[in-house]
Amino acid sequence: MSGGLLWILVAIGLAVVVIRRRSVAVALVTAQALVLVGFALDDAKAAGDVVAAGALAVRAVALAALFLLLVSRTRELRPVHARVPPLVRAVAAIAFALALTWLVPTLGLDSRNGERAVLALVAFGIVTVATRRATLFHVLGIVLVENGLALAALELPGGGSLTIEVGVAVDLMLIALVAGVFHERIFAEFGTGDSAALRTLRD
């Protein structure tokens, strides 16, 4: 994958870390997945590669539909503010990504730049889960991580793996569906999708 495309994927990931609106974040992770679909189709050499790209596309569109439905059904009266300001989140995400790149010597992918992009997306996903209070952003953080894994599968020497792409797609949709059930139930119980309400269980 070209360096420019990798930068676009990473930039979209960083935007999800700092963006405020849930619907914009949903659009960003979907766009990111569709960029991956485009690359997968461009790089496809066999029927299996096209099927893998198709699985990725179905997953991207299905998740976008599910998340937008959840956003429309759980309108917040006031925006849910993150625990930390956007700039601090961005700095934390970049620092974590650099630390991961330093800690993980090699993943055995096609290019070192590809490995860095994968690790950056994983880091951004983890930082999103750790620093955002809106429950939907927690799920979007997981989607960011899984987009990173889809990129890793595409960057494997010798081409992508159908098993991994289809597996990730099925798994992510299943988890997102269950998360959607809980997101709605949390909203119904607390009147908000703010995870700050979910802090009663401590020792």
Binding site: V104, L107, G108, L162, T163, I164, R185, I186, L198, D203
Partner: protein
Amino acid sequence: MTSREQLAWAIVAAPTIVAVLVVLTPRRAVTALAVAGALVTAGLALVLGVLELRSLGAPVVGKWVVVDAAGVLLVSVVAVVGLATVLVSPAYLAGADSSLGPAHRQRHTYFAALYAFWAALLAVPLAGNLGAAWLLIEATTAASALLVGFSGKARSLEAAWKYLILTSLGLGVALLGIVALVGGIPGRGIGALSWRALDTYSSGQQSALVAYVLLVAGLAAKIGWAPVHNWLPDAHSEAPPPVSALLSAALLPVVLLVAWRSEHALAPVIGVRAGQDVLIFFGLVSLAVAIPFLWRSLPWKRLLAYSSLEHMGVIALGIGFGTPLALAGVAVHIAAHAVAKSIGFYAATPLVEHEPRATERSVTGIARTYPALGGVMGLSLGALAGLPPSPLFLSEVLIVAGGFQAGRSWPAAATALLLALGFLGLAHALLETTVGKARCRDGTLRPGSRALAMLGGISLALLLGLSALALWLPGSDLVDALLAGIS
């Protein structure tokens, strides 16, 4: 296809079919169907266990299915705990005043999710490759999260959300490790991730080690190893008591088996010592983190949850030491922990009826006001503490001795010290819970005393049987089969 392979498919198919049928069955027949399905599933698992004992050392290794000693041990444990969980669930449902789904479909929702969870749990130890095992573990997350949040109350929603997000994130990291492994293995099909193909990794020891560490660190979040265990006390304490038993006694060791298989399969590439070091690290950290909580006055189910953290640490250490003695200890520990922990969680249903404050604070003197319940709780805590002749005492001795046998004196000594501290904490909790100062309770409210006495009696017999097994196991063919794995 061999008879063991066919049985393996049947063991997974039976609960899957019941999960679907339960949804379609009229309300009045749901419980009967669930119980019948549990008996069939457990019966099939028992037959597989017998067949495996008769063919030790000759594992079945197919493209999708693996049947070996370790896998069958786990299948047997999951089957027995699953059967008991289905049998005690009606008592829980009778007192459940709310649920995640519509009230009139409460039993359908509960048993469908329970059976889906059980089917995935039974499938993981039989999965023929790492990729399928990972997918099945994710499936356990989806089904069990619905069960953790089943009551629909604020605290259970919080626990379910933490569980879903943290374990999914952890499994994402594990998948990164799997992708990295795929990069170094010839071929791209599902066969590339079969357990026997993992040692064909050819991109160098360093990158294999990175992939292995990512895989195990990700799985650690699901096993509940410290320092990535944050969801565990919440999910175990807020889930319905029968589900807590399945989470602790079955889910955690089943995922641990995947880490064990990965360590075993990758040992020729990353080095035996390096793979074991990672497990010993997680084992010692888990023990060290769990011990302070075992000394505190915690609500009953939270205390059991921290005990799970301790015992998963002990099992990690046993696998990490990797000697015949340690693996004999691991086998006994997995089975005995399942029995002792399950009865502890099953006791939580009558406990909350007897002492409603038990969900939020520690309980004392239960044996004074409700002897049958106090007896079962005492049996559970005594066994978990490692009070002789508990099989967990014997398995811990075997694991520590195995550590010294492996030449890992410092980790073995640290394990012995931490286990002694854990014993003191739980022994104190045992005394307080059973014969401590009794609070004023309604002495007439003693639901299901006879059932509790029966549960206690069966569990005591099982635990004593496991103690005898612990004395016989070292040097047996079963340990040799565990050592050989699927190679």
